[in-house]
């Protein structure tokens, strides 16, 4: 068995004249959790769809679990071992929770008894055993998302693709879902996920790429990306009116300064030095220190302008 779950070289996707994915390269190891980050329209979902063979490849090479995915000839074999948790809830509202899973199990050559057993195991796994006979519409958003995860696992996949798994969920539901994904990681499943939540990416992803306008603009481990792209600390100086002239001296201490409408963000290596300087130069302003996050990396690379 190859060590790599997915290999992409110069992967491209065009819709007519529009280039959605513009020649990207990445490798995903077996057993790792790999993240795709990026603004809306960056090409994340399109890349996912090419991996799980819902969308033909326009150009470049793509290998999924050792099979060539670019030609489309091995789609059946690939789809057999890849599970999908889509962005959009498309559970079958005319069926019960258990039936939703049983029906999908039948697509993986399981007979009636096996499907029933697998469905009940998966419902236990996502803590929804008690809701098995309920209609899907009676579930909360977080529960529906867990059913979607369970459905993605019906075929006992070697690779699970999750497209924005926690978008729109409340904190409890998000943490509950993360817990299930950690459990899957412990079972050494390969996970690929897209997300808008930087804390989610830091929590779950071993490695990630940031996409923008169809290209990969940064790649690495979350902590490494923070170390490489931004300073370890950020000092925020809040203000109601424009900062006085004396702030220039403070800004000189920072590697990079970002001015927003209500605060200045100073990316610094030495937080103590900057805080002391701020207290001396701008004694009347509120100053806060925080650790740099992936969000700082993301905003630095993809900019603060709205993507759409």
């Amino acid at each position: 068995m190859p060590d790599l779950a997915v290999i992409a070289k110069g992967l491209r996707k065009k819709f007519g004249d529009f280039v959605a994915v513009d020649g990207i390269d990445f490798e995903i190891a077996r057993g790792e959790c790999f993240g795709f980050l990026g603004p809306n329209g960056a090409g994340k979902t399109t890349t996912m769809r090419m991996i799980y063979r819902a969308s033909p490849v326009s150009g470049g090479e793509l290998t999924v679990l050792g099979e060539d995915a670019a030609s489309g000839k091995k789609d059946h074999a690939i789809k057999r071992v890849v599970g999908v948790v889509p962005q959009e809830n498309n559970l079958d509202t005319e069926l019960s929770v258990r039936e939703n899973l049983e029906i999908i199990c039948r697509f993986y050559d399981l007979n009636r008894a096996q499907s029933r057993k697998r469905a009940d195991e998966l419902l236990d796994f996502v803590n929804l055993g008690e809701r098995a006979n309920d209609k899907v519409d009676t579930l909360s958003g977080g529960m529906k998302r867990r059913v979607l995860v369970a459905r993605g696992l019906c075929g006992d996949p070697q690779l699970l693709v999750l497209d924005e798994p926690t978008t729109g969920l409340d904190p409890q539901a998000r943490h509950n879902l993360w817990d299930r994904l950690h459990a899957l990681k412990r079972k050494s499943a390969t996970l690929i996920l897209t997300t808008h939540y930087m804390d989610e990416a830091e929590q779950l992803c071993d490695r990630l790429v940031i996409m923008d306008k169809g290209k990969i603009v940064a790649a690495g481990k979350p902590r490494e990306l923070i170390a490489k792209e931004v300073t370890p600390h950020v000092v925020e100086v809040w203000h109601n009116e424009p900062l006085p002239e004396s702030s220039k001296e403070l800004f000189a201490l920072a590697k990079r300064v970002e001015q927003l409408s209500d605060r200045a963000m100073l990316y610094v290596d030495n937080a103590e030095e900057a805080v002391a300087a701020a207290a001396r130069l701008l004694p009347n302003h509120e100053t806060r220190v925080r650790r740099a996050t992936l969000e700082d990396v993301f905003l630095k690379i993809t900019g603060r302008k709205l993507a759409e």
């Binding site: 819709f15 799980y52 819902a54 969308s55 033909p56 789609d75 059946h76 789809k79 057999r80 599970g83 999908v84 889509p86 959009e88 498309n90 559970l91 079958d92 509202t93 005319e94 069926l95 039936e99 029906i103 999908i104 039948r106 697509f107 993986y108 050559d109 459905r151 993605g152 019906c154 075929g155």
Partner: protein, 262 residues
């Protein structure tokens, strides 16, 4: 098992099973109208209207229209599934996206839906057949030929033909509102002018026009099987419908894949 066109029968059956599971939840609610409709049509048109018409045509009007109405019931059953129901699964509930995330491909899904629409045609047409047998038992003979023993496969063929035509139309349109055109300009005229209510020869060029419509061939076959006489020409009706099915079986899955897989 792979069928021609690279269709995986096991996966198609899984699609059929989903629809069957939904139907099973409400089968009693769903199946009753399949008996009301034939009874109402047969009483209203066959007995009521037939009282006046029968004198003119010198025969039992009820027995004349009943086999054709059975054929049209099969047509309607299949058409409902292949139009609105399929469009919703394709575009609104995104159910096919869920199926496409499994090993199933669009051709497997289309074939599973064809199997299901044909099943619905059999439920509709079968309901009609049971009512007709009921009339026979009650002493009002409508079925007068042993050919009726093979009418069920013909109902399935009518169902498959209209399922495929509905699927083809579903791949053409971009808004669900356009089904009203399919219904009022295609299915309803066929219902009226395919020889169910009066012989097609009674209007100028009626036979020629009717010959191009699939329902006419279905009506000819069901009538000949229920009341006789069977003739060689009925093999032509059979061949026509099989040819339409074959042509659409070749085109519809390809069109459907193009529409769904981008």
């Amino acid at each position: 098992m792979l069928l021609p066109g690279n269709i995986n029968l096991r996966l198609a059956t899984a699609v059929w099973r989903r629809n069957f599971t939904v139907y099973r939840h409400t089968w009693l609610l769903n199946i009753l109208p399949n008996f009301f409709e034939p009874v109402l049509f047969l009483l209203g048109m066959g007995v009521g209207l037939g009282f006046y018409v029968g004198r003119g045509m010198g025969g039992d009007y009820l027995a004349f229209i009943a086999p054709g109405l059975m054929a049209s019931a099969a047509m309607n059953g299949a058409s409902f599934e292949a139009s609105w129901n399929m469009y919703i699964k394709m575009n609104f509930s995104r159910l096919y996206d869920a199926f496409l995330a499994t090993p199933a491909r669009m051709q497997d899904i289309a074939f599973g839906e064809l199997m299901w629409a044909t099943t619905r045609a059999l439920i509709y047409g079968g309901g009609f057949l049971i009512v007709l047998i009921g009339f026979n038992v009650a002493g009002r003979p409508i079925i007068t030929s042993w050919g009726v023993l093979i009418v069920v496969p013909v109902l399935a063929l009518i169902g498959a033909t209209f399922a495929l035509m509905g699927q083809w139309y579903t791949t053409v349109i971009n808004t669900i509102d356009l089904y009203s055109y399919y219904w009022t300009l295609f299915l309803t005229p066929m219902f009226l002018f395919s020889g169910i209510f009066f012989p097609v020869d009674d209007i100028p060029h009626g036979r020629l026009i009717a010959w191009f419509t699939p329902l006419f061939h279905g009506v000819e076959l069901t009538r000949a099987l229920c009341a006789g006489p069977l003739a060689w020409v009925h093999l032509g009706n059979l061949a026509y419908m099989l040819a339409v099915c074959a042509l659409l079986m070749w085109r519809v899955p390809i069109r459907m894949s193009r529409k769904m897989v981008k």
